[in-house]
């Protein structure tokens, strides 16, 4: 019998705590397809696909079996989603919804933020313990951190096989890395290790290496589109691909504080400080030949970074394009034409560099 699920809207909810409390984390991702129940209540152009899907499932009673629905303060849309879900319950619009919890993890640089986040992490632990009737000890938490860190190490091995000299297509790599958030850690280690061994035996892939940045993608539709033009997506800025693992969580006397620090610093989303994202993005540029910037219609944040990024890319003579469509939908013919031109330009530069 699998553990009951705890549903989250973004991978900034610590899976270690969810598991230590006796639950299975289920993190919503976007997808194409209709969300009729959500569309009645959510204003258009504001909520990304993952939140529309979550609300649709909530209103249709498909989340009734969840132990809790945890909404992190990852973005304004997430926070509003939390308030909406509460209101649906209050008004009787959602009648079979699991209790909805706000995980108020802040990410700004304020001196009071780390302590606030530790307290919020404790509050989440208390809430989940209440739900399961099982209060994890510090050793329980450290055990889950260790398991997740082992899975992170396996994910990082995959990341190394796609960067610099890629041996795996981005579409395949993204799926393998995203599974970090979805699989039980021991099974993930086994799966990722087998995959890494298989991939390591492959010859390097030709084609320009592409970084996918802008609003973090939680699906691989754009990877497929980019790679259909002969390029290889070797990195993404976001928590689902290369960013899934990140650094290990430290193991010390205070595992709750260690988790709070890890997720505050590493969680990538709309409220990640811009200088952190800028540093991360620029560190990825050394090993890419082109950049695709995804700025979907619901973007209210990442578009602000574009002129600065464009300046860096132009200075480094790295071709790039912006895509404004929903990343879960197939790109338009115009997008494909732009991708083709970008990949062609990157190929020429690649050939010139390598003679």
């Amino acid at each position: 019998m699998p553990e009951p699920p705890v549903v989250a809207s973004w991978p900034s909810v610590p899976v270690e705590i969810v598991r230590a409390a006796g639950f299975r984390p289920v993190i919503f991702r976007g997808a194409s397809g209709p969300t009729p129940a959500a569309d009645v209540h959510l204003e258009p152009g504001i909520f990304p696909s993952r939140l529309r899907r979550l609300v649709d499932d909530a209103l249709a009673g498909r989340l009734a079996d969840a132990a809790r629905i945890v909404i992190p303060r990852t973005s304004d849309a997430d926070y509003k989603c939390f308030l909406y879900l509460r209101e649906f319950v209050r008004r009787g619009v959602a009648t079979t919804l699991a209790p909805v919890v706000l995980f108020d993890l802040l990410q700004s640089r304020g001196a009071d933020v780390p302590a606030y986040d530790v307290a919020r992490m404790h509050a989440l632990l208390d809430e989940l313990s209440l739900a399961s009737g099982r209060t994890p000890s510090a050793d329980d938490l450290r055990r889950e951190i260790t398991r997740a860190n082992t899975a992170r190490a396996a994910a990082r091995r995959l990341v190394r096989l796609r960067r610099s000299v890629p041996c795996v297509a981005g579409t395949e790599a993204f799926k393998l890395l995203a599974a970090f958030w979805e699989m039980e850690p021991d099974r993930y280690v086994e799966m990722a290790s087998h995959a890494a061994s298989r991939i390591a035996a492959r010859p390097p892939l030709a084609g320009p290496r592409v970084l996918l940045t802008g609003a973090p993608v939680d699906g691989h539709t754009l990877h497929e589109a980019i790679e259909s033009h002969g390029a290889v997506v070797v990195d993404e800025v976001g928590p689902w691909g290369s960013g899934a693992a990140g650094d290990d969580v430290r193991i010390d006397d205070d595992p709750v504080a260690a988790l709070a620090d890890k997720y505050r610093v590493d969680a990538i989303g709309a409220r990640t400080p811009v200088d952190s994202l800028r540093r991360l993005t620029e560190s990825m540029l050394n090993d890419v030949d082109a950049v695709v910037v995804s700025l979907p219609p619901d973007d209210a944040v990442f578009g602000w970074d574009y002129p600065s990024l464009r300046g860096v890319l132009q200075a480094r003579r790295i071709p790039h394009i912006c895509l404004r469509g929903d990343p879960h939908e197939a790109p338009t013919p115009a997008d494909h034409a732009a991708l083709h031109s970008m990949v062609s330009a990157a190929s020429r530069l690649q050939e010139a560099r390598h003679g």
Partner: protein
Amino acid sequence: MADRQLDATLAASAFQKQWFADLRRRVFDDRQPYALLQADVPFELFDLVGFPAVSNQWWASIVAAKQQAPKFLDAMEANGLHGDLCRYCSLGYASTRYAGAGEPPWGGLPTPRLLCARLTCDCIHRVFELWADTFGAEYFEIDHPGAGDLPPRWWELGRYRWRDLVEPHRLAFVVSTLERLVERLEAISGRGLNRDELRERLELVNQQEEVFDAVRRLIAAAPECPVRMTEQISNVMATQWVRGSEWALAHARAFHDEVKQRVDDGVAACPGERARLMWIGAGLWHDTGFYTAFEPSHRAVFVWSMYLAFGPDGYIRYGLDDPMAALASRTASFNEYLHNPPWAAEWIVHQAREHRIDGALVLRPRSMKPAATGRLFIERALEDAGIPVLPIEADVVDARGWDADGARAGVRSFLETRVF
């Protein structure tokens, strides 16, 4: 812009223009520091250490009213900032970053010493970082912890039981952040914040908002609306940015007295009033004539906006033993009061009933994503309360794409088919 009916409105406008001219003189000639703030930052803290402050939203409204916004926004888009990004909070930045594209009003903003914003919407961090970089100025952020508990009838709790309105961990966080802001302001200005002066200032703010509360009651009770919504806004906002000052309190009282005189004399903004309308959302700054356009044809008067009503309900805090905590309790939840379920819809329906509203026009903001949330809850709550709703799709500062004639035609049809 329609003719102004109140002397107080002319005085408010003249004050703002003179205040800004004085600010420029003090910054350029006397090298005095000033700050650029989001509207929901506690201005009182700045003023009490001798730090004048300009509101980003006020400045954006001036730029838009002077019809300069399209030029700056065109320049912003030409630089690669896509059209779905928020324009209201970024127009001030655009008027600085792309200053040559248009004519910034009144000589433009001088370089501030400090910028400060609350991180309500996700974009604020970006916009203010960019703005601070453009000026080469310091930037201070006040993070916005999310509310997990939103008790009913916030506008009643806020006055006397404000500690019950904000969860203790949120209140403590905002207090400590404001304390750090004060440390920074004291270091820059070389002046210490006197807590007794802060308490006295908040008491004066209470007095000012009590005056506005009285004005609100006059408007709600009068047989016909005595003062246009646009003039309510002009008088309220001129004082809000310097709230608790001698001038602000005196002006609030003068405004009240003039409104009361009009009520006593039976003077209406639109004699023969047939429909009382409310506007929900930020003001349509580039076309304020919209708000009086239906007076001649339909005797339909805009009676209510959040600008007057929010002062008394959002700002009054009694029990000022710990003035910083009282200030923090006001600061912590602005966004939730005005936009989010359950608070916004509950308050607006209450206000609609108090003001005998016949129809509500609800802004569907084109680019302000956070302000656009909660709108459907508000629209449904009003309709459920028997108040017809007309959504108005517009950007509050960006006149590009605004169909003034089409919008007016839509309102006329709404009045004829749903209100009368």
